[in-house]
């Protein structure tokens, strides 16, 4: 793990390849059971409810703010340039049970309220990596 940049996901990790591919196309997709329809996050191989298989289903990129924190300390060297930043989690509107983490941008911490509607927007880091971010819905 020595020289890894923790700001960047490993987009080749098999479990999340479809997720990062979708982000690259500015889509948000999460695993939904083909058989019983439940959503599962983080991904598992087998549906915990019916033992069925999952497919990566597209959702409207919106959700309700569950919580957040303003991080002041750079716990890794690569975060030195970023602090302070807001990391938040939202409950995705279309996918009950999916609570999803990303950074909230273009807002001040005092603007945030639990339950407020957030949009997921996409930040193309380079040709391959695109990270989702949250912005307060207009």
């Amino acid at each position: 793990m020595g020289n890894e940049n923790f700001l960047l996901p490993d987009i080749d990790w098999p479990v999340l390849v479809p997720f990062w591919e979708a982000c690259r196309n500015e889509e948000l997709r999460f695993p939904r059971c083909k058989n019983c329809g439940i959503w599962q996050w983080y991904p598992t191989f087998i549906c915990p409810s019916c033992e069925g298989e999952f497919e990566w289903a597209k959702v409207t990129p919106k959700g309700k703010l569950f919580s957040w924190t303003v991080v002041h300390k750079a716990f890794f060297p690569e975060f030195k340039e970023k602090v302070p930043f807001i990391v938040a989690c939202i409950d995705v509107d279309d996918a009950p049970g999916v609570r999803f983490i990303a950074n909230a941008i273009d807002c001040k911490p005092e603007d945030l309220r639990i339950g407020m509607e957030m949009d997921v927007v996409f930040d193309h880091i380079d040709d391959k990596i695109c990270k989702p971010q949250f912005r307060i819905s207009k």
Partner: protein, 384 residues
């Protein structure tokens, strides 16, 4: 009915930032101290339970087991403080079934001088879900998880900043009295508010320290305990559970991160013990972060959800002469991060009347709440 069991020996190394010893040496030192405290020899030990799955990865077990006569060996699968309570459950099962007569538990690591091997942060860093779903957004390490939890708590129930300060200050006072604590500089509420914000609303002084050190204990049946050197701390009630065991490390992926599994285990442990909340003389709660104390205090049933802050107040209830003296050894916050084992050891010492300057008068019943990931264990001990 199964015979009751008791903690009959406890041992600790010095808690510091640099032990100057190998992991094997500190674990041996704590273990021999616990065995001698009980008035036993290593050759009497016929069972071992490791409260932490990783302990065995970085010690020389040959050194350890050469002089014991092991018939039973187990490793607790739960994490941190929950693993400590689960290890005691496993020891009790072995004793009650006759698979062992004297069970040794040991835990410890050089968390500061060998962090990659043993620190909680190092372990979380290896998890690929965390590496890919959390770390790229800076949701890492533990202060960030608990900052997010504390923020939600404050937004739902109101500010608890003054109460977090009261916990930190109270715990430091106790650490100073303990004699084996890493943090011994007196702390005021003002010092707390001057300490830097790490992940809002958590400040540096809301967070536990990291430690080089080890702790151990010996458990036997109540009957055998009568012949031993020290007064026994009898296990009156005990339970472990996980509200969301599928993802114990993923602190956002539990439906309600403001409720710990203490909500499940406390009713079971209290019923087994046949005691009420009012009977608890000493309370030892896994305090990796101040918010964590408030959550468990509520889930253990000492106050309703959302009222932990009111219960803490300015610290009157939780001080040594208060209604419910809390973390009388200095906790993870100020004594050292010993995974919750030092909480159990303190709960034993209080019942023996051996807690030194932090002794609570007439302590008869103590309670330990061991949190670990999203697992939790409740342990109720009784003295004479």
């Amino acid at each position: 009915m199964n015979q009751r069991t008791a903690i009959v020996g406890v041992g600790e190394t010095t808690y510091s930032r640099n032990s100057g010893m190998t992991s094997t040496e500190i674990l041996l030192q704590a273990s021999y101290r616990a065995i001698h405290d009980a008035g036993l020899k290593m050759s009497d030990i016929d069972g071992v339970v490791l409260p932490r799955i990783r302990t065995e990865l970085h010690i020389n077990e040959f050194e350890f087991y050469t002089h014991a006569n092991l018939r039973f060996r187990a490793i607790a699968g739960m994490d941190a403080g929950a693993g400590v309570v689960q290890a005691i459950e496993l020891a009790q099962m072995a004793l009650q079934s006759g698979q062992a007569n004297y069970v040794l538990l040991y835990i410890g690591a050089n968390q500061v001088s060998e962090p990659e091997k043993s620190s909680p942060r190092g372990i979380h860093q290896e998890d690929l879900y965390k590496r890919n779903c959390e770390m790229p957004f800076g949701f890492f390490p533990q202060p960030v998880y608990f900052g997010s939890i504390a923020n939600r708590y404050q937004k739902l129930y109101g500010s608890i900043e003054n109460q977090q300060a009261a916990i930190a200050v109270n715990t430091r006072k106790h650490a100073i009295l303990n004699g084996n604590a890493q943090m011994t500089k007196p702390m005021t509420v003002e010092d707390y508010f001057k300490s830097p914000l790490l992940a809002e609303p958590l400040r540096l002084l809301d967070c536990c320290v990291m430690t080089d050190g080890a702790a151990a204990m010996v458990i036997t049946t109540e009957e055998r305990a009568k012949d031993l050197a020290r007064p026994a701390a009898t296990i009156l009630g005990m339970a472990t559970a996980g509200l969301n065991p599928a993802s114990p490390f993923f602190f956002t992926q539990t439906p309600d991160p403001l409720t710990t599994s203490a909500a499940q285990t406390a009713p079971i442990a209290f019923a087994q013990a046949g005691v009420s909340r009012d009977d608890i003389d000493v309370l030892e709660i896994y305090d990796s972060f101040t918010i964590n104390v408030i959550l468990q205090l509520e889930d253990l049933g000492f106050c309703p959800k959302g009222e932990g802050g009111r219960f803490i107040g300015n610290g009157e209830n939780i001080s040594l002469d208060g209604k419910l003296p809390l973390n009388t050894h200095g906790g993870l916050l100020s004594q050292g991060y010993m995974y919750g084992m030092a909480h159990v050891i303190e709960a034993v010492k209080q019942l023996r009347g051996e807690a030194g300057l932090a002794q609570v008068k007439d302590a008869d019943v103590s309670l330990v709440s061991g949190f670990g990931g999203w697992f939790q264990g409740t342990l109720i001990l009784g003295g004479k």
